[in-house]
């Protein structure tokens, strides 16, 4: 008899599902704990960290540049009618800067990176797992966790904040192009208004947020790839799951950090 057809059977199925969830949570905890244990212990894989920084940072620049610039233009264009109704188009640079620095640049950069970098890490490590490359590293007395996971998580944690700063600049330039065409504002005036509108707390919270997003993207991609199984199907699942999970976590983190920053602001 199918155990799920009666009451005790349903309890049994539910209990097994709960078991799986708790085992997964314990496994995630152990993975994160191992990262913090290994990140400070030599030998340090500097060459691999630099290679990964290049992969995450430099290779993301074209996509980030295009997306950031377009977002700056579109956001400015969409905001203008509302401000024009109030006769406040002069506030456009301030509005753009607050929106981009506080929320849009960190969020857009993280979402693009989770799509480009997170899925890449998930697929690469997943493929290495199913083709026994990770086992090969282990039997040759090289710590695969340190070489593959620590280097990638460090790279995303360092590079996403740098990319966020770059996105902020590019998006503001996009906003300036739109503002200068419509309001005939000069670059100096535009950036004076931009810097007047943002505070030290905005910059700090944006930087901290992007560090957390970077850590999340690297950690999720590595966890999904490192623990993938079931052949090539598992590689696809690892890549897909790395993106979906990272994006979901990024939105949750955004919400939590927003609450904390608002509490600091006294809102």
């Amino acid at each position: 008899m199918d155990p799920s057809n009666n009451k005790s059977g349903r309890k049994y199925v539910l209990s097994r599902r709960m078991d799986r969830i708790f085992i997964e949570l314990a496994s995630i905890y152990a993975f994160i704990a191992r990262f913090f244990k290994e990140v400070f212990v030599p030998p340090y894989e500097f060459r691999e960290i630099i290679r990964q920084c290049y992969e995450v940072g430099v290779r993301s620049l074209p996509l980030i540049s295009l997306t950031g610039f377009i977002i700056g233009i579109v956001f400015t264009n969409q905001s203008r009618p509302s401000l024009a109704d109030l006769g406040a188009t002069a506030l456009l640079p301030a509005l753009i800067s607050v929106a981009i620095v506080r929320a849009m640049a960190p969020l857009v950069t993280a979402l693009i990176a989770s799509g480009r970098v997170g899925s890449g890490i998930g697929a690469e490590l997943g493929s290495m797992r199913v083709t026994e490359q990770i086992d090969a590293m282990e039997v040759s007395a090289t710590n695969p966790f340190k070489f593959l996971v620590v280097s990638r998580v460090l790279a995303t944690t360092l590079m996403i904040p740098a990319l966020t700063m770059y996105t902020t600049f590019v998006a503001l330039m996009g906003g300036f192009v739109n503002v200068s065409q419509n309001e005939l504002t000069s670059l100096t005036t535009f950036f004076t208004q931009v810097f007047d509108a943002i505070t030290f707390l905005d910059i700090i919270s944006s930087s901290v947020k992007s560090v957390i997003f970077g850590f999340t993207i690297g950690m999720v991609g590595c966890y999904k790839g490192y623990n993938s199984s079931k052949g090539t199907e598992g590689v696809g699942k690892a890549a897909n799951s790395a993106v979906v999970t990272a994006m979901f976590l990024i939105f949750i983190e955004e919400l939590l950090i927003l609450q904390i920053v608002n509490a600091i602001r006294g809102i």
């Binding site: 040759s140 007395a141 090289t142």
Partner: protein
């Protein structure tokens, strides 16, 4: 048929396994395996797919933990070692994977350099290059040094995989299905290479296979894994001189009598 290696030292066990048991969920793969490997010997483990042959060598290399049993490698009990001790032991073990497991983001040169950079830091670049050239020459692929793994054939990948394990001069070689998926001529090349490695580097080896041509060509001794235990042991001819239908079926399928 292989000529028995005269350098085998029967008084020196490099691997000794007693009562090894391993199960995955409810499926018991190894049900109390006992095995000895002597210095200088090529031991072939035969068996059908899914009988736990690869599990056996992964336990020896410390990639899997046994449920029960004692696994002694070069005088050390594998599952009682600390991670650092296990790493030191692993430097004396070469593991050739079924699918070669070459790092596909690295060239052949980088694949071979990878273990050297980590474990022989005292070597200069010139010394490293010399070691790489030497193992590539031993496996007959000096011309492939700058190629990516994706540009190599299956047989070439196997050879580079073996070269990568040889570069640290291991005392024990573990071959997981060395001839799987290769054409008969390439299989012959790989069999010759396994014997050449034994002669030239004085290694003791366990060769996991279900290819009887390979078993006959490389094995000084053959054991057959059936139903989670070793049922037959001896030279190739001794193992197959039996009325056991399971063993006869295995032989007939391979050689199509």
């Amino acid at each position: 048929m292989k000529v028995l290696n005269p350098k085998i030292d029967r008084s020196n066990k490099v691997i000794s396994i007693q009562g090894l048991k391993k199960a995955f969920d409810d499926f018991e793969v190894l049900k109390g395996v006992d095995l000895d490997l002597y210095q200088g010997e090529n031991l072939v483990v035969l068996g059908r797919s899914g009988t736990g042959k690869s599990v056996l060598i992964k336990i020896i290399a410390g990639l899997l933990r046994p449920d029960e049993g004692v696994i002694n490698v070069l005088g050390q009990e594998v599952d009682k070692l600390t991670p650092k001790e296990l790493d030191r032991l692993r430097l004396k073990i070469g593991f050739s994977f079924q699918n070669s497991a070459l790092y596909d983001s690295m060239t052949v040169y980088e694949n071979l350099e990878f273990p050297l950079v980590r474990h022989m830091k005292e070597l200069s670049k010139a010394d490293r290059d010399r070691s790489i050239e030497e193992v590539l020459e031993a496996v007959g692929l000096s011309q492939s040094i700058n190629q990516m793994p994706s540009e190599l054939s299956g047989g070439q990948r196997k050879r580079i995989g073996i070269a990568r394990t040889l570069i640290l001069r291991p005392e024990i070689m573990l071959y997981d299905e060395p001839t799987a998926g290769l054409d008969p001529i390439t299989c012959l090349d790989i069999n010759n290479l396994i014997n050449e490695v034994q002669r030239r580097f004085n290694t003791s080896s366990i060769i996991i296979t279900h290819d009887l041509t390979c078993a006959r060509a490389v094995g000084d001794r053959v054991v057959m894994l059936l139903d989670g235990q070793f049922q037959r042991e001896g030279t190739f001819d001794e193992v197959f001189s039996t009325q056991d239908e399971r063993v006869k079926a295995f032989y007939n399928y391979n050689f199509i009598d």
